[in-house]
Symmetry: C2
Subunit: 465 residues, 2 copies
């Protein structure tokens, strides 16, 4: 991991190989579920980005370098104006623009995913970068969103996270909540401006109960309401049954009477949890999840790595009813996003060091006996590649010890010695591998090998993953 | 194909699916040859980008939007200074910065590829965009570059182009030349500033012989030299033998005497052509290929789609001896690049319309009998996905005719009817597919199907590709 410029992460090849496996897994599972891949433009109109005002200070605006070389007067005319174009800071606003631009060409419900970079000019800190990769999955509907999407989309993300365990991502648990549930409860306890309370509760995990208490007092809530909010935020449930029971106990304890609206929302969220966990996924209802962004209107999600909850959510999102509108049509949707760069920074800091050892995608390095017989090594590589075995040829023909060290440094496990039959006869006898042998540089074992049938051993694959 | 902002292309899902197949193919072949994937930062220091001065006017500089909201005086202080950071306009300068930053961590020769976006603020025109994807393959060496890389890298690119025929990219021919050959020839005919002549010759394809002639006169060359340059630029050869013969005939015709230097370069380039074409790839020596960028110092490449030479090169590059330096070490390298976005714009304009028909990656749409039996359809989809068959479930449970039209619009060929056994018994009988049937909406054929053994027919795969 190195920074060319502060805040702009560039991964070394071995780490990048892991990151690419993560995004490949994401794409594979998303496509397996019929999601369409799009790429939106990094450059969006500044106006469309500013509609989500709270992040405006983090936006990178674009100007033409040319204007700085022009005469000063011309440059200064432009300076006073807001630049028309800026870099996206998330993938949701560009998706919203994309749907509006292409509404007549797309098929709704539009099941879509994007894996792309976003930029934020915020001060760099541990695990936070100015350029980072997000992987988003959304279903955007026209006017009405079927409720079953609220469980289908998180299940796709949980399936992806399950598959990611194969590349070293630890197990994670999804925490779900519903803003409509919070609204029903806040109404019950007599709170008028529920949006502000949600914004405070959203920070609970970061700032702690003490500070949250203070902030709730600051916005004018008495001790009783503050306590009722904080107590309710502590409910965790692993099933609909447990959730209904806990809420029942909670209202009884506080001497309140459940409203029909609250009961409806409790059951609805409970049903969704049961639908999500029915496939064996790990998810809980967590009533302190609120999501700060004001475009979420229904179910919301955050996901924490087991034992590393303090690291924060690696996969978040929710249902947005009114984010996208065009003429008289609205486009409600639901989306979840994995912070790929954050996840990579977690893995680099926490995973075992093996992660960073394999720079080359090759499984085999073909050694070169001498420059005059390089052809024979090239031919061998060609045969292995035609059998889909990733193969490199040693770029130099120094002593074998040096060639093997080159393989070691790149994390290439198998070194192929081209036998005299092959090498001696050069190009013409590409298929004669009577004298070939392969050294496994992990075990040190060297055995005869036939280029037409040899393969990376099954047990190796387990180790490599 | 739609533009949210002029010059910033956003592909519709069906076109994006083709583009992703192109980049997937590129990655697969590059990895099969042992190239390491990296991603460099989109944001580079303006200074490092300006070192390639000729494109300075096209660079997008970054400023913080924040400064426009600050008080005017503060903003204007910054205005007079050149922004420190800008967006990359190619992948070579970022690679050069990456190598310098990580020189101690990388293994040289560093075999590397990048598939990433670049930005240029030039006026949008047909086939030219302000944001576009480049796919680069490079080998960067430390101090000395083995000559065999000059044939190995173009062969990897030709292999990629051959594989791309499966996704509809037409056959292409690589044109190679060597700047050292041009230098040797220009010296022979008494030209001093060979760099300027190369820059003019580089434009020959675009501006034609007449205009080139005028430009050569303008830089002070007489009619004799101009004719000798233009005549030499017309040589095309398909083998070393043909090239040597044509050059011999050429010098004789013009009453000149080949120098040792020229002969050496002719033989060297001829050997490289023969090495490249030995594997059956289509390549020719084309002495008018010069490449405008001044960092190329040796062999250079351009590649043209057969019958569409006027479209320009889709895959270009060359050998750069001195682009990257750090302390007393130099990092010579060779790189070739495919313009993915340009290639896509060609395919969209020229390929048959089938290309744009399949938006969804799914092969199967599972129909839904009613919302109350959606579980049965979900279960079926789960089984198919576990068998790696990309599967969507119809988001609504309207009449089958409407569900089938949804599949048609998305380009999903197979519609799966969940039989009564499955649907009626719901979740519990996921494996009982006695009554299931599948309709091929291309042939109209509908046949019974077992979810545990059904697969997309082999002949379909051929059609779909």
């Amino acid at each position: 991991m190195a920074n060319n410029i502060s805040g702009f992460l560039e991964l070394l090849p071995a780490d990048r190989r892991v990151e690419a496996e993560i995004t490949d897994t994401f794409r594979h599972v998303a496509k397996l579920h019929g999601f369409q891949e799009i790429e939106t433009s990094a450059v969006q109109t500044t106006n469309s980005l500013l509609q989500k005002g709270e992040t405006s200070k983090e936006i990178y605006a674009l100007t033409r370098l040319q204007q700085y070389f022009a005469d000063n007067s011309a440059a200064h005319v432009q300076d006073s104006e807001l630049p028309k174009h800026s870099l996206r800071f998330d993938l949701t606003v560009p998706l919203s623009n994309y749907v509006r631009t292409n509404a007549n060409e797309l098929v709704f419900p539009f099941k879509v995913f994007q894996i792309q970079k976003v930029w934020r000019g915020e001060r760099p800190q541990k695990g936070r970068f100015r350029e980072f990769t997000q992987a988003d999955i959304d279903i955007v509907c026209k006017n009405i969103m079927p409720e079953h999407f609220e469980t289908e989309v998180p299940k796709v993300l949980l399936k992806i996270l399950a598959e990611l365990q194969k590349v070293g991502v630890p197990k994670a648990q999804m925490h779900i909540n519903d803003r409509r549930l919070l609204e029903a409860y806040y109404k019950l306890i007599g709170i008028k401006d529920v949006a502000i309370v949600m914004q405070v509760i959203d920070k609970l995990d970061k700032i702690g109960a003490q500070k949250t208490d203070e902030m709730l007092s600051e916005i004018g809530l008495g001790a009783d309401k503050t306590a009722k909010i904080l107590d309710f935020s502590a409910i965790i449930a692993h099933s609909k049954q447990e959730f209904m029971q806990k809420v029942q106990e909670f209202v009884t304890k506080h001497g309140m009477q459940e409203t029909d609206e609250l009961l409806y929302e409790v059951e609805r969220l409970g049903d969704k949890l049961d639908a999500i966990t029915a496939d064996g996924f790990d998810a809980v209802i967590d009533t302190k999840i609120a999501r700060g962004l004001d475009y979420y209107t229904g179910i919301v999600f955050e996901t924490f790595i087991n034992g590393h909850e303090k690291f924060g959510s690696i996969c978040s999102g929710g249902h947005y009813e009114k984010l996208i509108a065009l003429g008289k049509d609205s486009y409600p949707g639901i989306g979840l996003s994995i912070g790929i760069t954050r996840l990579m920074s977690f893995l680099i800091d926490n995973a075992d060091s093996e992660l960073q050892q394999k720079a080359s995608p090759a499984d085999v390095l073909v050694l070169v006996n001498s420059e005059s017989t390089r052809n024979a090594s090239d031919d061998l590589a060609k045969t292995l590649r035609s059998r889909q075995i990733a193969t490199d040829v040693c770029p130099f023909s120094d002593k074998f010890g040096k060639q093997i060290r080159y393989a070691e440094k790149l994390g290439i496990r198998y070194c192929w010695f081209v036998g005299e039959n092959g090498a001696g006869l050069g190009n013409d006898s590409g298929n004669d591998s009577g004298n070939d042998s392969v050294k496994d540089i992990v075990t040190g074992e060297q055995v005869p090998a036939d280029r037409n049938i040899w393969s990376v051993k099954a047990e190796t694959e387990v180790i490599e993953r």
